[in-house]
């Protein structure tokens, strides 16, 4: 239980952190560059802790780096949403908004209810993800309200990501859906954006069946450890 949960939470954070790192040096303003790097650093920290906990619970001597750098793509358990390409800034914001809003509901709950190892990480990370969700929501409003171009791009970004949101609410996390919907809808209303129409959810990440993108992410992420298998860094 702990292994599966910690692995999926760690993989979510790792893969989204990796995606945000792609923005570094290329963001719309220096302030946004700093903010995306901050969020990326928080997520990398979460990845280290959750994967560390997963390895410890598993008890086979695998640490966070081994799990991050030496698993195949079908062994990753992140949701499909986080592996979506950055696209334009609006799509990056849409992805962050949908995902961080979910994390911000999940983590305070885990801090109370989960196994101690996970609860401690969730408690620390709850503050971080609340900020991520607020940052993203503010940009959703700016872009939705700003110009006709930014409105169109924001709507496109949401439409791109929307089909991957059902996966966030499978099994134990289904109970968060109503509250998540109400948070999302409140921000979208403020932004003058329509809630995307329901579409058939695309799922599979939690079972190791990913989109075409994950393999490419891992080929960069794991490159050095695969080329120099005996090295430590």
């Amino acid at each position: 239980m702990t292994v599966a949960l910690a692995t999926s939470l760690g993989d979510d954070a790792l893969i989204l952190g990796q995606r945000l790192a792609e923005w570094c040096g290329h963001a719309p303003t220096l302030e946004v560059d700093l903010a995306l790097a901050n969020i990326g650093l928080d997520l990398l920290g979460q990845a280290q802790f959750f994967l560390g906990a997963a390895g410890a619970a598993e008890g086979q001597g695998r640490d966070a780096d081994t799990l991050a750098y030496r698993r195949r793509e079908d062994e990753f358990r992140n949701c499909l949403l986080v592996e979506q390409p950055n696209g334009d800034f609006a799509r990056t914001i849409a992805r962050q908004f949908l995902f961080s809003t979910w994390q911000a509901l999940l983590f305070p709950d885990l801090a109370q209810s989960a196994a101690p190892a996970i609860a401690a990480i969730a408690q620390k990370a709850a503050k971080e993800v609340a900020y991520h969700a607020r940052f993203a929501a503010e940009w959703v409003v700016r872009l939705g309200d700003g110009t006709s171009e930014s409105h169109r791009r924001m709507a496109d970004g949401l439409a791109w990501c929307w089909r991957f949101t059902d996966e966030l609410f499978m099994d134990d996390t289904a109970k968060f859906r109503p509250e998540w919907d109400s948070h999302i809808n409140a921000t979208l209303t403020q932004a003058g954006l329509a809630t995307p129409k329901p579409v058939r959810g695309i799922t599979g990440g939690r079972h190791g069946r990913h989109t075409e993108h994950l393999g490419h992410i891992l080929s960069a992420l794991q490159y050095l450890q695969r080329v120099y298998p005996d090295a430590t860094w």
């Binding site: 790792l14 952190g17 990796q18 790192a21 792609e22 570094c24 040096g25 290329h26 963001a27 719309p28 303003t29 220096l30 302030e31 946004v32 560059d33 700093l34 790097a37 901050n38 990326g40 650093l41 990398l44 920290g45 990845a47 280290q48 994967l51 966070a64 780096d65 991050a68 750098y69 334009d88 800034f89 609006a90 409003v141 700016r142 872009l143 309200d145 700003g146 110009t147 171009e149 930014s150 791009r153 992410i217 960069a220 992420l221 490159y223 050095l224 450890q225 120099y228 005996d230 090295a231 430590t232 860094w233």
Partner: protein, 328 residues
Amino acid sequence: MYTVSLSPETDLHIVAADDTQRNAVFEAKVADDQFIEPKDWMPDAYRKTLIRQISQHAHSEIVGMLPEGNWLTRAPSLRRKAILLAKIQDECGHGLYLYSAAETLGISRDDMTEALHQGRAKYSTIFNYPTLTWADMGAIGWLVDGAAILNQVPLQRTSYGPYARAMVRICKEESFHQRQGYESMMVLAQGTEGQRRMAQDALNRWWWPSLMMFGPPDDQSPNSAQSMRWRIKRDSNDALRQKFVDVTVPQAQALGLTIPDPDLKWNETRNAYDYGAIDWAEFHAVVRGEGPVAKERLAARIDAWESNAWVRDAALAHEAKRSQRKAA
């Protein structure tokens, strides 16, 4: 204003006399090592020189994010990835303070950005070299940040207050980066054969460009004399370069790596290392924008700026609508 149109000649004369007096006050302050502050009078040439130097420094921080960003997705451990991302983020922060310091001189960040993109403003030549392996991340921290620190430590006492204060914080962070870079090189130098080879190759490629970071030799440095007099600059290019060589050679020896200079040897009489001739033709070519990845670096900055213009427009439009709604 109307008094000027009444007797323009007398007024002009008074202004000129006034300038001479104000210039004397300015020169005395500088000579006395006091800070010049944004509201103080300063000669136009001093203002222009500072804008040139500070904006060049800011651009270097921002363009300097790119060569390291090239390895972010491929960093070999979670810890190294976090260290690298935090370091690049620091550089972005340095760029921000420096643009703000330059803005106190009466130029906007947008104007400076435009000057960079149009090729009117320069940035450090070092960032126009490619980062080919992971060891380049260590080498940049160790050598490039090491050279930058030697250039920047004296700037904490530079005559322009906002610049000097920005440099205090920047220097603290740079010296942290330098230690991290050296530590990363040490892991490689003590690692597998492949890692050691990677470390030596990085030193081979970054050594000479790092020496060039101190600028042309003293007898060919066009802006140096005036800048030294104004205390915008505190030490000569060659003096700082020598200091860098003397500090770095023992560090390379400690790593078991070889400096790629057959003429390098200790000189008892000078109590310093003699080093080989620098390829100044290469330096001048890189300054002209002919560095190996100069086009890639500038194109990446221009693309980040232009392809995201709609984001900045949206933020401004939203702010305008919001204040309009508030007023209504």
